[in-house]
């Protein structure tokens, strides 16, 4: 079995994408969080977005 990373000995530092509510709760709990104002990419076309995302990751 490959080496298992130590599970979260570090404090949580979060990037939140989507519902702002989660980011607010994290902040209220003293967690460092950056909220991403997400909008659907590529003209709100999920298939195209997925295709672009998979291409991007091949770079």
């Amino acid at each position: 079995m490959t080496e298992q990373k130590v599970l979260f000995a570090d404090p949580l530092r979060v990037i939140n994408i989507g519902l702002e509510l989660f980011a607010e709760d994290l902040k209220a709990a003293g967690v460092e969080v950056v909220h991403v104002n997400w909008r659907p990419p590529s003209g709100a076309n999920p298939r195209l977005a997925a295709l672009l995302a998979s291409l991007e990751d091949d770079e």
Binding site: R39, G43, A44
Partner: protein, 363 residues
């Protein structure tokens, strides 16, 4: 800010509409020359079409796709490429210029909702320029701007008369800051108010030797019997000198460089460019340096070129409008550029030489 008398409204209206009628004369359709990788979707991000861009700006954008924001102002965003090229993406009211990419943009690019900050990435993808993630500018239909050249044959007597008119405009309207104080014939009649005068006095004092050296050298290269010397080192003391985003000294040198090339003293322009650019990189900052490079190639703000055209034309049509357009550049930058322009013009008048280039012995 500045208060103008009645009768200036025509030009101000023209400026508000965007590109001034003055600068449009030399616009030609441009093929941006960029392979269009298909219309790239911008998602729900609005894309603003570029109306007009300068040739140096176009060259820089074509050759490099990786940029970053250098500075954010109300009407413009300066971007710098990986190799150090600079372009200015902005609202049409800036006026055309070699580094300007004018697009139908909102007028508050430094507003909090825009979220544009220095350091953020800028990427050109095909004909779309993505400024950070929120602003997209479409280069596809932008037209190329080139400065209007002055008439190829101009009369020194015409120039002299028009230069007096220019001097009177400057006397009436130039702000106390900047180097208009240092130019002997253009000293304002109204005493400057407030503390600024001490510093301004020192500025004029500091700029004195450089301006004097420049004036002497200009008279030597525009005379019928040109003295073949490179501009003296003292000229370089103007670089980086003075207040403003672009230091006043840079603006004076820029105005002089543009005027020299426009009026036909190509070799003199080259010589002054060598003297200036060699030191400018370390003595001034990236934005001012980029403007100096364009000036060395003979290009500056459209309003400055239009002023030159007016100066060389009988009865100087619309000189007041041109000066007002130049004055709108920065706080004193426009005026300082006019000083440089006026130095060249007055040298030409003093030596009685009418056009044609002269030769300067290479150093």
């Amino acid at each position: 800010m500045r208060s103008w008398g009645p009768g200036r409204n025509v030009c101000r209206v023209a400026r508000r509409e965007g590109v001034t009628a003055l600068g449009v004369a030399c616009v030609e359709p441009a093929s941006i020359g960029l392979a269009d990788v298909g219309s790239e979707p911008t998602g729900d991000k609005p894309s603003f079409p570029v109306l007009l861009l300068g040739c140096p700006a176009r060259r820089a954008l074509v050759s490099e796709s990786s940029w970053k924001i250098l500075a954010v102002f109300r009407r413009s965003v300066y971007c710098m490429s990986r190799r150090g090229a600079v372009v200015c993406v902005g609202h049409p009211s800036l006026g055309a210029g070699p580094l300007n990419v004018l697009a139908a943009l909102p007028r508050d690019l430094d507003g909090r909702n825009r979220g544009l900050l220095p350091g953020a990435p800028v990427r050109r993808n095909g004909t779309m320029l993505h400024v950070d993630v929120r602003l997209a500018v479409s280069l596809a239909k932008g037209r190329l701007w080139r400065p209007t050249p002055p008439p190829s044959h101009w009369d020194p007597a015409v120039l002299a008369g028009n230069l007096d008119a220019l001097a009177s405009e400057i006397r009436r309207h130039a702000p106390p800051a900047g180097l208009t104080q240092a130019f002997p014939n253009l000293r304002t009649r109204t005493p400057s108010a407030g503390f600024g005068s001490e510093l301004t006095g020192r500025l004029a004092h500091a700029a004195g030797p450089g301006i004097e050296a420049l004036r002497t050298w200009l008279e030597s290269v525009t005379s019928a019997e040109p003295i073949h010397e490179a501009p003296p080192a003292a000229v370089a003391s103007l670089i980086g000198l003075g207040p403003g985003l672009t230091p006043s000294g840079d603006d004076v040198l820029g105005g002089a460089l543009i005027a020299l090339r426009a009026l036909g003293w190509r070799d003199a322009a080259d010589a002054l460019a060598r003297r200036t650019l060699a030191r400018a990189r370390s003595r001034t900052h990236a934005i001012s340096y980029a403007h100096l490079v364009c000036a060395a190639a003979g290009e500056g703000a459209a309003a400055l070129h239009d002023t030159l055209v007016a100066l060389c034309s009988p009865a100087a049509p619309r000189l007041g409008d041109c000066v007002e357009a130049v004055a709108a550049i920065g706080h004193s930058s426009g005026w300082d550029a006019l000083v440089g322009l006026a130095l060249v013009a007055s040298a030409a008048i003093a030596t009685g030489w009418a056009g044609a280039s002269c030769r300067v012995t290479p150093q």
